[in-house]
């Protein structure tokens, strides 16, 4: 029998009368999945529920088919990087990792070995023997990341792991997360910087008002959003002439000349339109410098989805 790595079954959680997450059903498989949502949409609650830090009010979380709230041993398979900036301030980075690894059941030498491995992977080896109280914000985030992956878990939950990191650390950590995904780990990562999520993965889970609003591949979701036509900006040497040539295409909804050398084409049937665009451009004879889709990125997608959901 096979089971999904991670499965939520009608997961619901209240705080008193406030609802945090409401009847969430979803499955998450290996690879990196980006968890997105507005502040207060229920992202953190969902994270904590899936990582076994909160008990569901209703429903359950299954990890490889086992109910998370019944088997505490399942934490051997889970790595959790919490969002608050909290560490064992008086320990050194290495001490903290070894301590937490030993609590995963590894013996002392094995814990030392794995701690070193995790320090190397997060580029913290140089600072390993300094107390974490003296770490910069980026290093503090990295040591949190290190403790989440040191015991080689199957599933990782990373809640805003880049908050406060400098661009270099961000870059390194994003590489690391992509690598974890390639290794076949199931990685759930939340971030407000959509640009970065896009660089790590094309699979997202969007939560709004405590419910799942969209899940799956960014581009496929984008094509499902029909209400907002795709916009393509074309730079060319004569925008008006090109506009006249493109307007007869049946996929084109409208053309707007933004500047003498720039026009924007709107289409509601992107697949056909883009398939035919090279031919249209070549046969028009207007010299083209380049073109780009304006709202094909996660930022626009997020805006459209959240806007439409109200």
């Amino acid at each position: 029998m096979n089971a999904p790595v991670l499965e939520c079954q009608s997961l619901t959680r209240w705080y008193g009368q406030v609802i945090g997450v409401s009847t969430v059903d979803c499955q998450v498989g290996p690879g990196v999945t980006g968890l997105l949502g507005l502040n207060g949409a229920g992202k953190s609650t969902l994270f904590k529920l899936m990582a076994g830090q909160l008990r569901p009010s209703l429903g359950r979380v299954l990890l490889l088919g086992h109910d998370l709230s019944h088997h505490r041993g399942l934490f051997r398979w889970i790595g959790f990087c919490p969002e608050p900036d909290a560490l064992y301030e008086s320990m050194t980075g290495r001490e903290m990792l070894v301590y937490l690894l030993r609590l995963q059941g590894f013996d002392a030498p094995e814990s030392e070995r794995r701690a070193q491995l995790a320090l190397d992977r997060t580029h913290l080896a140089d600072a390993a023997d300094r107390p974490v109280a003296g770490y910069s914000k980026g290093m503090r985030q990295k040591i949190k990341l290190a403790q989440a992956l040191a015991h080689d878990p199957k599933v990782l939950f990373l809640d805003e792991p880049f908050n406060g990191m400098d661009p270099v650390s961000r870059y390194e950590s994003m590489e690391l997360i992509r690598a974890l995904g390639r290794e076949g780990k199931t990685v759930m990562v939340s971030s407000h910087i959509l640009h970065e999520v896009e660089e790590m993965t094309s699979i997202i889970l969007l939560i709004q008002n405590g419910q799942i609003l969209a899940e799956g591949n960014i581009r496929e979701i984008r094509d499902l959003v029909e209400r907002h036509p795709h916009q393509v900006r074309i730079e060319c040497e004569d925008a008006r002439r090109l506009a006249v040539d493109l307007l007869p295409m049946e996929e084109v909804l409208g053309v707007k000349v933004e500047a003498p050398l720039r026009l924007v084409v709107e289409t509601d049937r992107p697949r056909r339109f883009f398939g035919r665009l090279p031919h249209a451009l070549l046969s028009s004879g207007v010299k083209v410098r380049g073109f780009q889709t304006l709202d094909d990125d996660l930022k626009s997608l997020f805006e459209y989805l959240v806007e439409d959901a109200g």
Partner: protein, 283 residues
Amino acid sequence: MKESGHDRHFGPVSQPPGLVPFGQVYRLVFAASVKDLIRRRRLVFIGLVCILPLLVTAMWRAFGGEHLSAEMFFSNLVSLLYLQLLIYIVALAFGVPTVHDEVEGRTITYLFTRPVSRVAVYAGRLTAVQLLAGSLLALSLVVCFGLMVIGNPGVLDLEFIRVYVNHVLIILFSTIVLTGLFSILGVAFQRPLVWGIVYAFGWEGVVAKVPGRLQTWTLDFHIRNLIMGEEDVQKGLLDTFRHLLTDQAEVSAWVSFAVLTVALVVFVYVGGVLFSRKEYVIN
């Protein structure tokens, strides 16, 4: 189920893994907690408070030796400073943060995402806290002994040593019991220190002085009762105390000892169970 864009890669189902052995977790948490407690500023502050009786002892050595015998001075010191003030301060300062340090510092998440029994975590932290609290008071008492005895061998008779050892044991035992109680507050409440102070100086401080059976419901009564069981040392101020409480409830020292022991067991059990059930919403 909705159609969605990516392959789920279903993995094989295996048996869920088990917990890390209780003993190992206990030892690790205990060791880490002791190290952490030693590095905290709190230790210095409480250490300073523990110097207070030493000042008084030094004064007794300097000026009062001829008026007040060593046994009497010591038993007064114990009942006035240690039993009324110090054990509560120390037990509050160490007991309340047993778990609350990790909750407030939000590091508890790291322990709760490990395959460990929460009772083992609680036991490890509690015993570490009790060890530290006990050691601090014991150190204070040992220095006190030194201050009284060094260069003053006259006081060192069998009776004095008996009184001393007896009192030290009672102080340490009550500190351990109280620490167990206060650490429950740390598990249960958002602002445990306030509740702790209300209990220590409200309930214990007032009810224990009320004549009649009501006072048997305080720990203070039983702790005091252990000392009262000591026949020969009730002269000085303690004696006056007892006369004030005309309706002193009569309970044998052994019963009080049993009550305190049972209380300790109950405190540890309740704390452990509460901790393993409690859900901390950490933002």
